[in-house]
Point group: C2
Amino acid sequence: MDDSGQEPSGGRRGRGERGGANARRAARSGGGPGTQLTYIKRAINVYEVLNEEGLALIEKNADTVLEEIGIEFREDEEALALWKAAGADVRGERVHFPKGMCRELLKTAPSIYTQHARNPERSVQIGGNATVFAPVYGPPFVRDLDGVRRYATIEDFRNFVKLSYMAPSIHHSGGTVCEPVDVPVNKRHLDMVYSHIKYSDKPFMGSVTAPERAEDTVAMCKILFGDDFVDQNTVLTSLINANSPMVFDGTMLGALKVYARNNQACIVTPFILAGAMSPVTVAGTLTQVLAEVLAGAALTQLIRPGAPVLFGTFASSISMQSGAPTFGTPEPSLVSYGAAQLARRLGLPFRTGGSLCGSKVPDAQAAYESASTLNSTVLAGTNFVLHAAGWLEGGLASCYEKFMMDIDQLGMQQKFAQGVDLSENGQAMDAIREVGPGSHYLGCSHTQANFQTAFYRSAIADNNSYEQWLAEGEKRAEARANEMARRWLETYEAPYLDPAIDEALVDFVAQKKNSMPDAFT
Amino acid sequence: MDDSGQEPSGGRRGRGERGGANARRAARSGGGPGTQLTYIKRAINVYEVLNEEGLALIEKNADTVLEEIGIEFREDEEALALWKAAGADVRGERVHFPKGMCRELLKTAPSIYTQHARNPERSVQIGGNATVFAPVYGPPFVRDLDGVRRYATIEDFRNFVKLSYMAPSIHHSGGTVCEPVDVPVNKRHLDMVYSHIKYSDKPFMGSVTAPERAEDTVAMCKILFGDDFVDQNTVLTSLINANSPMVFDGTMLGALKVYARNNQACIVTPFILAGAMSPVTVAGTLTQVLAEVLAGAALTQLIRPGAPVLFGTFASSISMQSGAPTFGTPEPSLVSYGAAQLARRLGLPFRTGGSLCGSKVPDAQAAYESASTLNSTVLAGTNFVLHAAGWLEGGLASCYEKFMMDIDQLGMQQKFAQGVDLSENGQAMDAIREVGPGSHYLGCSHTQANFQTAFYRSAIADNNSYEQWLAEGEKRAEARANEMARRWLETYEAPYLDPAIDEALVDFVAQKKNSMPDAFT
């Protein structure tokens, strides 16, 4: 896992023994999250929707877009200068790329890297056959445990970090799990990054809303991991959205430059509502996505060759009636599958999907849409899955109940990704011989030996009889999820963090906050 | 489509013009079902979980089961005599098969056949790259439009036939869409078959609960289609369950023989709750399923070589806590994918899956589980999908609201199965050129030309703003589905049926009913 031979300074002493013991206790009592899982190592095939000709066609079209139409890099003289020096045709803020230039530059980007966590057991591989699940990112609202939809607070933020820490099928603490709207916007990132470090020991994402906030994130990581470790290893994977169509803006470019310069990973993601930010067709959307990613990702290699960068795709369609984004529909799934193929050919780790939905409540619409999105995300071979749990309402709200239901689905995906066990025990010929025609397998020795691990056990699903379900209060899935979230938050215990590091981080945050006025816009 | 050059007698005059016009009117007014779709012709890849070695291993193990353990054919002297004559080793009711015997027999079974509907436009291809969706089968209960769970009636039965007739993404009228418990059990099949013929013009399934009921089904089809047509063509596809492990019982064998003898299709399906009817492992389950299907399907070819037969698999796991079946979990998906591969190698059409769930209500649990099952069903390349809509509560209840939500998902799958359009219009390079960096595609000419068909349009999902959703009454998905089901049933109009045929069918049913006493068990 650790490809550097080093260990992070915070990590050595931060294996979360107390949290782990607590989780084990809770698991034994039936109410807890159970054993933490490492990131998924897929033993299954990827699913593909494009053949060689289709892929080559889209790649050729993307090259045409890059060369003839170009990509705009706005409000960033440095980026334009870098492109010019590299041989691109820069006209104002519009950059035209000679054929093959971006691909050539991306040859220095790693196809697999390790993102280190302060607890080395929670470090994740990003790329290859690995899939990493991270929670929802970005919502200004929450749907809380009393069923109220309201602006999110820093307490909500901490709660989602805690739940992600406890959830065995969440491998990554994510980033803006919700917007802590009660904290001034210019100071928010400090509380967010501190919360990820303090309340979890899983890897996390950095602030991207201003270059100086990205710098603060890196500074806090240096306190946690040590300066050298951060320079030589990746401890942050952060989200850089293209301003589609075919624009990168100064804010995102500023953050991208900070992270790339510090050897930290960027997910270059065209944020696409097809029909608005891209053509209404799948092939047209893929073409534009590929062109945007090629340009944005290649820039990281101009800044620091070898800095990790991901091929990101956020795929949705807009409703041609209301203009609202729609999720879980066929077209975004096709885009995700196709983009994953393009990313593999480019040799970059891939990010898309999650448990996306447009519903306002954690109802059947939310679940159908989320399950369809998640299935295509996993079968596409996605390496980094943001929004894997808790996303509601087109990303406007983080939902506690949905979070608990989604992590159950993530656990199922992780089991599925193990594929079919063809060992002698898996073949079960002895069991078939022992039982024979007309009997049953309930008590046979093979069943007894395997039943603890044979089937995924859902913590949310009710599979009891109708009568028992009635007797237990006719609870819907979200009611059971609500109880589970409350139980987890009540039993949460923070993982151990070296008090000296904690103090240094608290000091850093206080000092930074004192140096600036409150800003709420 | 029609591989015989003949047309069914009922079909010629039964193209459902009035129903079609009605559907078009309703569609225009925004409340109706829209244009009927033909069965799916998949333009996408299948997803596979086993490699060549895994498949060969399971096939070898299944051969061992057939030879060494054998399969029991109970209460059926004729079947045992047929096996003996064919060279099997028959010991009591247990039949042991020489290696390769069943495979050899199955060479006469077609890999693709047409099941004719009385409306030739609704005839379906079963096998190859076709996928056919049929509604839920078997529940004794319904969850009705007032949210009451009660025993199903013949009126519910007719309602589900009507809804399936109207639903564009349902290609087949199915069979026992619910058990009409208010009709005597020995007469039920007559009302069920008549309802499929009268209230729909889509293909349907026959009764299997007794050989004489299968005979009645064939007789009614001869009234509808004509004697010769039925003998030379397939107009029924019926469900023959194995009594797993490794048993076929007299009832199912009786029905199988009637249908095979009449050139009608049987779906030979091991009904598997893994851990009870099969080993707890995926590979062990696949081995037993393959052995059972090989034996049961081969019997059809001993009765009438060339009679269509499907490789069926019903995959679920049991909860090791409660013993209840569970759905939408990873293991049944792996079984479905693997079984589809085994069926393709055998050259038989394949049936599995559907929109299965264990939930008691059409909530998020129902939707997550159904979506996961349906996704694997379609990507496996399944040819015939029973339970594609309306299944609730582990198959104990047919649910109106769930039916309406499921058919929306089926429509999405049908769109997905078209794959990626790589035509010049699909590539959309003109659109990308026209719009350029920093603009949007909402008004561009390519969007205008394509927006009607570009994106799947859900009739159930609410993608409006939170505020608008609030203003419209905070409806959950199932509430919208409820309204839609009521609206459809109010506007339903029966497809045209030749009055002479109708009269003959009514007479047949009356005569049969008069000839027997009422039986309720």
